[in-house]
């Protein structure tokens, strides 16, 4: 019980995830700044931002559903921490065992932060937030299709939907990424991760220039800090998910694997303009799904 508490609160739980995640957002901001010929923030900037937000006033929109408005960000945060703890804990388990939930469970838990954003935005009684919430929901509809197919490809090849089984298969046969089918599934999943992070080109739910931060327009103070923290934790947890499922799990090479995926995310983010929502739907249901299906067919053919 005590070890569970430790693993949940300190490592690999809340504290670890928060620190690493905030550092990851710093890497993102720094690289982006350098690409735009700016200096960029110092490493502690995300921590300072968070501390400052905690000191700010909490403003609740008039006539909104207050408890839902303030509660929703916490649900997203809890979901992100749970997934992070769960994925990292695979390491501590004997080979082949799985902790708390399997691949399908994690796919559903990963929906919690997005869902929290939608419900919170919807509860803030602001038309712009409502538009942001509806965009986020449509984005979920868009990326779920290729995500399901990519996950099914892995499940098919590993003959297991438990993380323990998936990692064990990769330990025996090499990471999924080093095969054609695995590569296709990984590419589709990488774009899904990009969308789940709400990073450009899929930042339509917040789209500052169009709907003024959309779903989170009414948030301020500690509630906004919780949303920021969730986003930061996802910057660590989602690449971790890709690493476990496609890159052979957590080992000595993990920092390199993680930084590689983070670099890809930042690269995509800085080289693409924001998509319109109907284009995003068409993009995910069209080319990305085709790539994912190609991956599945290759997997059936044994490639």
């Amino acid at each position: 019980m005590l070890s569970l508490l430790f693993s949940y609160l300190i490592f690999p739980g809340f504290l670890f995830l928060a620190v690493v995640g905030l550092l990851a957002t710093w890497v993102d901001r720094k690289v982006t700044a350098r690409l735009q010929y700016r200096v960029g923030p110092p490493w502690f900037q995300p921590f300072a931002d968070l501390a400052k937000l905690l000191g700010k006033q909490t403003i609740v929109p008039e006539g909104g559903a207050k408890s839902v408005f303030l509660g929703a960000p916490l649900v997203g945060l809890a979901g992100a921490i749970l997934v992070g703890t769960l994925l990292w804990s695979i390491n501590a388990q004997p080979v082949g065992r799985t902790f708390v939930g399997d691949l399908i469970v994690v796919m559903y838990l990963l929906m919690l932060p997005s869902l929290a954003l939608i419900i919170g935005g919807s509860a803030s009684r602001n038309p712009l937030a409502a538009i942001g919430a509806s965009r986020e929901m449509k984005l979920i509809l868009a990326y779920e299709l290729p995500f399901i197919i990519s996950a099914a490809t892995v499940i098919y090849r590993a003959r297991s939907l438990q993380f323990g089984g998936i990692v064990a298969w990769q330990l025996a046969n090499g990471p999924f990424l080093w095969s054609l089918s695995g590569l296709c599934a990984f590419l589709a999943a990488l774009l899904v991760v990009q969308a789940k992070l709400g990073a450009v080109p899929f930042d339509l739910a917040e789209a500052e220039q169009e709907i003024a931060a959309g779903a989170i327009i009414e948030y301020s103070g500690p509630a906004l800090a919780a949303i920021r923290l969730t986003r930061a934790i996802l910057y660590f947890v989602l690449p971790l998910f890709l690493t476990v499922v496609w890159l052979g799990g957590i080992d000595a090479w993990f920092p390199l694997k993680y930084l590689g995926i983070l670099t890809l995310v930042i690269l995509i983010k800085n080289t693409n303009p924001r998509l319109r929502i109907d284009h995003a739907l068409r993009f995910f249901w069209g080319p990305v799904t085709l790539v994912a299906v190609a991956g599945f067919i290759l997997a059936v053919l044994g490639k």
């Binding site: 949940y8 839902v68 469970v105 409502a130 449509k138 509809l141 099914a152 327009i217 739907l281 068409r282």
Partner: protein, 575 residues
């Protein structure tokens, strides 16, 4: 007489008394439904039998009956406040109890002949109950009667075929493999009746029609709960006890294809509805798809998921219909465009609707997630026998995302979002109306957290000799950790100054525009999806009711009649 006899006779007696003493009809119904609930609990003890109607109770049908009795009781409680103005109140309660008694019979009987008797009585009760509704009720009741009556005839034909093949009218006495044209015909004919009652496409269209006409508690009780319980229970028994469904066989393929089609078509229909009750009724169709798919896998884990989903669906769907009724009661409308901002005005109804909506969308750790998760595993396992498993899995999992989408629309349009004229003065309903949905929502949480300890252990697992679950899901630990996360977040809030919240008007561009001019109702959330190329075509076709077998048959009959009258005219002219 054994207990099994009483649970059929007592509601019927109460119904008769209610017709005579109309004033006391509500109280009598309450007493009878309470008796049914207690009897249902007592039945959980073990196997019981009553030879008169060849009734036999075991874990599965006792569990289904327990849920049916519970929802009937809650419906009666709800109706006490909701339906005070209805003229034919005595008849209303009598029909409710008739439905309960018929459900008991249909669930417990072990022989076709009696099954048809009770099955027909259920259809009759439904027809009569829909008829007690408003002005659109007669047309809806007629449509229901024609679809259910017609499919019952086909089912009788199927039962006859089975009898001629095996010489037995009992469940469980046969294990026919579906391999010859004759057995396939018998299988499909038998399924038709069950499909129509459960609402599998293309025999689903009576449910949305009934949603428009029938009083809302009737929708919460019959199409959402009793008809599903009995219909899907029968699909399970047909597939298990009369025929043998092997994974990868033709019968399995038919069930998987029909189920997947029902999931997607139902949920896409729901996505675009403009009316609260109609939206829910399309989900009543879509959710059956999951159960059919689960049964169609022919594997224990898929089947366990399907049966668990059956119980879960009855619970959250009834809760949602109750909430819709409460909204209608307070605002006078169920049109999504005219609602909004009810969360603060009806907090208890909102809490129930939120939990039920998340449960039906399969958000962990609620009950809907556990049953869907079991079904997905069945679909993955069936991949060893069936080449198309990815199609079924994708339909099921994507259908779940679409379900969430349509409930986000519902929650935004009705509860969150901005106020409208209708909702500005709304207030919370009284306890007989908020208690039933809230109780069911609580049950959603309990069935999710203690899935292994309660529903699976007592209702479902006794049916299986051996159940292998290939995945891992530990709801208890996951919930503890989720709560830990909530507490951490709360700590974060307290570290900040969340206690000194201030309230300010929502900010949009710094303008003080009248709220009506820039209201986002949620009604048009998914118009972008609707216009998208291949989907747009499907929606346009669906709007012409091409997928509605009833309307198509009616059209065919109309043109036939037209042709006949023309021929008649031609003959007449030739003289």
């Amino acid at each position: 007489m054994p207990l099994l006899a009483y649970i059929i006779i007592v509601p019927l007696i109460a119904a008769g008394l209610g017709l005579i003493f109309r004033r006391a009809a509500g109280a009598l119904a309450l007493a009878a439904a309470f008796f049914a609930l207690v009897a249902g609990c007592l039945l959980m003890g073990g196997r019981q039998a009553w030879p008169a109607f060849s009734l036999l109770a075991y874990s599965l049908n006792s569990g289904a009956y327990l849920i049916a009795a519970l929802i009937t009781l809650l419906t009666v409680i709800y109706s006490l406040k909701y339906l005070t103005q209805l003229k034919r109140l005595g008849e209303y309660y009598a029909y409710l109890l008739l439905a309960l008694a018929a459900t008991a019979g249909a669930l417990f009987t072990n022989e076709f002949l009696f099954l048809f008797l009770f099955w027909g009585l259920m259809g009759l009760a439904l027809y009569l109950l829909i008829g007690t509704g408003g002005e659109r009720a007669p047309a809806a009741a007629q449509k229901t009667l024609i679809i259910l009556g017609g499919s019952d005839l086909l089912m009788a034909l199927g039962a006859g075929l089975v009898w001629s093949l095996t010489g037995s009218m009992e469940f469980g006495g046969t294990a026919l493999p579906v391999n010859t044209p004759l057995t396939l015909a018998a299988f499909l004919l038998l399924l038709t009746g069950a499909f129509a009652k459960a609402g599998v496409m293309p025999l689903h269209s009576w449910i949305p029609a009934a949603a428009e006409g029938a009083p809302t508690p009737v929708m919460a009780l019959l199409p959402a709960a009793l008809d599903k319980l009995v219909g899907v229970y029968l699909i399970a028994r047909i597939s298990l006890d009369i025929f043998m469904i092997q994974p990868g066989s033709l019968a399995s393929l038919i069930l998987l294809a029909l189920g997947s089609f029902t999931i997607m078509a139902g949920v896409l229909g729901a996505l675009l509805q403009h009316d609260l009750k109609k939206l829910l009724s399309f989900h009543a169709v879509s959710q059956v798809g999951y159960m059919v798919v689960g049964i169609g896998t022919g594997l224990p884990v898929g089947l366990a998921g399907a049966l668990f989903h059956l119980f879960n669906n009855a619970i959250y769907k009834s809760a949602l219909f109750f909430c819709a009724g409460s909204i209608e009661h307070r605002t006078g409308t169920t049109e999504l465009k005219k609602l909004g901002g009810l969360a603060g005005k009806m907090p208890l109804t909102f809490a129930a609707a939120l939990i039920a909506a998340l449960a039906i969308s399969g958000v962990p750790p609620l009950n809907g997630f556990v049953s869907k998760w079991l079904i997905y595993q069945g679909l993955i396992e069936v991949g060893q026998f069936d080449r198309f498993w990815l199609v079924w899995l994708t339909a099921a999992m994507l259908g779940s995302a679409f379900t969430l989408a349509s409930f986000v629309k519902l929650l935004h349009a009705a509860f969150l979002g901005q106020w409208s004229e209708n909702t500005a003065k709304a207030r919370e309903v009284s306890w007989p109306m908020w208690f039933p949905p809230l109780f069911l929502a609580g049950l959603c949480v309990v069935f999710g957290l203690f899935a292994y300890q309660l529903p699976l252990r007592y209702f479902i697992l006794p049916v299986f000799i051996r159940l292998v679950v290939p995945g891992v899901w530990d709801p208890g630990l996951a919930t503890i950790m989720l709560f830990g996360g909530l507490l951490l977040g709360l700590l974060l809030y307290l570290l900040g100054n969340v206690r000194q919240t201030v309230t300010r008007p929502a900010f949009y561009g710094g303008e003080e525009l009248p709220e009506e001019t820039i209201k986002v109702t949620g009604d048009d959330f998914y118009d972008t999806v609707k216009r998208l190329a291949p989907l747009g075509l499907i929606f346009r076709v669906a709007e012409r009711k091409v997928f509605d077998l009833y309307e198509q048959l009616k059209l065919a009959l109309d043109s036939l009649a037209d042709l006949a009258s023309r021929i008649e005219g031609a003959i007449w002219r030739s003289f």
